[in-house]
């Protein structure tokens, strides 16, 4: 089967979209960019192909009479959950073995056996605890292995170190070194095996399928047997030059975002993308062709990373900032969106007695004000207006944007797609498809 792939190597996350020859999106994948674009693009692509298989499973299961809508969704949800667990446990085991290997470091002479014994206990506990993250109905804070494994490792390692008379710092140092190695190693390729093991577990749990397990297994296997050909790949984003393919397979993210936004909402004329280190205002025509753009210069003030620093300063998760800002009763005026001064700005307002919620509302407003300036330099907002990038997921940022758009441009249709983070990769995939199908 022909597959067209767009990969958007952003400064914070790397995204991939797989598209079929008719322009239909089959799968999406995302991972953290981890300063290693080679691995990030491999992992994002792998994730997009996993998502593609799930889409194709859905299509195959729809062909089974008696198995419909809700049941298919439940089956696939459980299949993905079990599959993710397989993948997670495989990475956790890799982390365990890597930590054990690093315990032989010269900095810990004669301690390897003892460290390994502590690691064995800690990882057994970790494995047991973290399996729960993949239980039915559990919402995970992050999809990235580092986030899921990291915080719990700290807790369990500290407790285990204390019980077994081991220096906790040693376990931290070993972890820090090992997690980078593990993160930069894509999961092994045996996706088929993992899906089949996951399916076996799902079928064992299912009591109300109304079709035979054999038929389900057959349908899933038929998809796993399909060859998903990487027909053409287009790369975009800051890391695009790292992609191992020729120049004509590389497109600017401005063009990709323009086209991606057009595919999501064909009436789009203005696009705002706030990514990790870029804010872009893009004007497109009726075909998704970019006619003008502006972006921030060498300073990343007011971009996604700004919120990242604020979250770090407040010891919060990035996704917690928006909800906190939504609880504000007023908006504290913040003048500087300089990422470097973010911490100072925040502490200054706290010292003046302002509430965290109100400061957060002010920070979100400041970001959007800066974005509005960039948009106006690109030519202003023309109906319809599509907001993309990671920050589009932040409800407080969206609230401020809606207010400022209304104030400055009146009634404008504002589009925010739940998959807006994939806009650049989507545009890339369409460029890939056109390069072959419309050549």
């Amino acid at each position: 089967m022909k597959c067209y792939i767009g990969i958007d190597l952003g400064s914070t996350t790397t995204k991939a979209v797989v598209m079929d020859e008719f322009g239909e999106v089959l799968g999406r994948g995302i991972t953290n960019s981890r300063s290693n674009y080679d691995t990030a693009s491999r992992v994002a692509k792998l994730e997009a192909f996993i998502s593609t298989r799930l889409t194709l499973f859905h299509r195959a299961l729809e062909g089974l009479s008696g198995l419909e809508g809700e049941k298919i969704d439940r089956l696939l949800l459980n299949l993905e959950r079990h599959f993710r667990l397989e993948l997670f446990l495989e990475q956790l085991e890799d982390l365990h073995q890597t930590c054990a290997g690093n315990a032989g470091d010269l900095r810990y002479p004669g301690q390897k056996a003892k460290i390994c014994a502590v690691l064995d206990v800690a990882f057994a506990r970790l494995r047991e605890k973290l399996q729960g993250l993949f239980a039915p109905g559990v919402v995970r804070k992050s999809d990235f292995f580092r986030d899921l494994a990291g915080s719990e490792y700290m807790n369990i390692a500290e407790q285990t170190a204390k019980e077994m008379g081991m220096n906790f710092d040693t376990l931290i140092n070993i972890y820090d070194k090992s997690i980078i190695e593990v993160e930069n190693r894509p999961p092994n390729d045996d996706m088929e095996g993992k899906f089949l093991r996951a399916l076996t577990n799902v079928l064992a749990e299912e009591t109300d399928l109304s079709v035979s397990s054999d038929d389900v297994m057959k349908a899933i296997k038929s998809v796993l047997d399909m060859d998903l050909e990487e027909t053409y790949v287009v790369g975009t984003g800051y890391g695009r030059v790292r992609l191992p393919f020729p120049k004509e397979h590389i497109r600017s993210e401005i063009l990709c975002h323009g086209l991606g936004a057009h595919l999501m909402y064909p009436k789009t004329r203005t696009v705002l993308d706030i990514g990790g280190q870029d804010t872009k205002g893009i004007q497109i025509d009726g075909k998704g062709i970019v006619v003008n753009f502006q972006m921030n210069d060498r300073c990343a003030a007011g971009c996604g990373r700004y919120l990242g620093y604020i979250a770090d300063e407040m010891n919060l998760g990035l996704h917690e900032l928006g909800p906190m800002a939504m609880k504000a009763t007023k908006t504290v005026r913040i003048n500087s969106t300089c990422t470097v001064f973010a911490g100072a700005e925040l502490r200054d307002r706290l010292a003046l007695g302002e509430k965290r919620e109100d400061i957060m509302a002010g920070l979100h407003r400041a970001i959007i004000l800066r974005a509005m300036s960039i948009i106006s330099r690109s030519g202003g907002i023309t109906d319809e207006f599509t907001f993309t990038g990671g920050v589009a997921k932040n409800e407080a940022a969206v609230k401020q944007l809606r207010e400022l758009v209304q104030e400055n441009y009146g009634d404008v249709q504002i589009n925010i797609n739940p998959d807006s983070i994939y806009t650049g990769a989507l545009g890339g995939a369409e460029f890939a498809r056109r390069a072959v199908e419309e050549a």
């Binding site: 600017s252 063009l255 003008n292 753009f293 972006m295 210069d297 060498r298």
Partner: protein
């Protein structure tokens, strides 16, 4: 850090000649204490080189020193020195590079000490910073200063009143100051001879710049252009050297056209010409080759630029005129690109867009140059409206390496080139 060895830049005979001329001029400047020659410091836009030379004076151009130091990666440390002595981050980086150069012993690019000037001649042609710069230099050197106040062409025209006002100052202030510094009586015939030589070189310069009207341009009128304007904008206008340089250059360009070649780049002949651009604004000097490479790697040729007009606009017919020397010097100063109002700048760019069959306009806006950068975005929008061709805006700096973000600039340029390409394709298929 990239430790790969940079390929040796390929140089034509004209480039070697210019290099030798510049080296000779620096030797003359740094050797002034021994030769007894006197030095006049002045700026490129509106410089009165023919007049200065007619008194046997040497011409030192501080912003050219800053450019030299920028290209030789020296300016960063000089700017930091100037900041330590109290000049803020927002100040023009040419100024800070110059102040920093002084604090480092005022070493000229030839490695020898640059002697203090005997006269500061400020020909004021639109840059307010130049005035403040010379105030600083006057305090430092405590030498004679003379200012030629060139009226800004706010209405886009040069009137008789303006011309007369400049001529009057030349007669009553500038010439007496030059006589005093040199101890030489003003000789209008020497000035006429110099101006006749200027006009000759200017003819060839215009021919070279206009060769870019050919589709498959034999030159890059921005990155190559800054070399081509070197002699005529600096200490050599009015000299036999300049005439010879432009004859040599013209011959080389004619040969390139006969051979069907595109512009010469530091890595040899440029490949296919994919994009023809007009550029507004000076180049970045600290990463000059890296910046240029971002263009020629993508097949982008600059066919016309406004920066190559800051030291004089010759392609609209102006020539230094030996029959009316002082009036002609006045017209030269009044007509400099820096002295033109915004509508005139837009008109000139529009003309370039059409006459040079450009695909688009690129503006390189200079962060530390408020007077020249103001309004550039409006200019771009106006050009887009008039020509229907896409514009793009990038931001760098003159000689402060901290203001050149290669990844950001490259990203914008590549996006722009692809945008031009996409737009061209859609027009073709429409």
């Amino acid at each position: 850090m990239n430790t790969a060895t940079k390929p040796e830049a390929i140089k034509d005979a004209s480039m070697l000649k210019q290099k030798e001329m510049i080296a000779r001029n620096y030797d003359a400047l740094t050797g002034a204490p021994e030769s007894g020659k006197k030095i006049v410091s002045t700026f490129v836009p509106g410089n009165l080189n023919e007049l200065i030379n007619s008194f046997g004076l040497l011409n030192n151009l501080p912003e050219i020193n800053a450019i030299n130091n920028g290209m030789r990666k020296q300016s960063g440390a000089m700017i930091m020195d100037a900041e330590r002595s109290g000049h803020s981050e927002d100040v023009c980086t040419y100024v800070k590079a110059d102040i920093g150069m002084m604090s480092k012993g005022n070493i000229a690019p030839n490695g020898k000490v640059m002697p203090p000037p005997n006269l500061l001649l400020l020909s004021y042609t639109g840059c307010f910073t130049f005035m403040k710069w010379f105030e600083l230099l006057r305090k430092e050197y405590n030498c004679d200063t003379v200012m030629l106040q060139v009226p800004y062409t706010g209405d886009g025209v040069i009137t008789d009143n303006m011309r007369n006002f400049v001529v009057k100052q030349l007669k009553e202030e500038v010439i007496p100051a030059l006589e005093k510094t040199s101890g030489v009586k003003f000789d209008i015939d020497r000035l006429r001879e110099n101006m006749a030589r200027s006009a000759k070189a200017e003819d060839d310069l215009v021919w070279v710049l206009e060769s870019a009207k050919n589709v498959r341009s034999p030159i890059d009128a921005y990155f190559g252009g800054v070399y081509y304007i070197g002699p005529i904008f600096t200490a050599f206008r009015g000299t036999q050297d300049a005439i010879e340089y432009y004859q040599l250059l013209r011959g080389e360009i004619e040969k390139r056209m006969q051979d069907g070649l595109g512009p010469v780049t530091p890595e040899g002949d440029m490949g296919e010409e994919k994009y023809r651009l007009v550029v507004e604004g000076p180049p970045n000097w600290t990463s000059f080759r890296e910046f240029w490479k971002m263009f020629y790697d993508e097949g982008a040729v600059v066919v016309a630029s406004t920066y190559t007009k800051v030291g004089g606009v010759y392609d609209e017919g102006f020539r230094h005129d030996p029959t009316n020397p002082l009036e002609s010097l006045a017209d030269y100063c009044l007509g400099c690109y820096t002295n033109r109002n915004m509508p005139s700048r837009v008109d000139l760019i529009e003309k370039y867009m059409n006459e040079y069959q450009a695909d688009g306009l690129l503006i390189n806006s200079i962060k530390s140059c408020n007077s020249f950068s103001a309004g550039q975005l409006m200019m771009m929008n106006e050009i887009e409206k008039r020509t229907g061709k896409p514009g793009a805006f990038i931001e760098t700096d003159l000689v402060d390496p901290r203001y050149f973000s290669a990844a950001n600039v490259k990203n914008r340029l590549e996006s722009y080139f692809q945008m031009v390409d996409q737009k061209r394709r859609s027009t073709r298929t429409a």
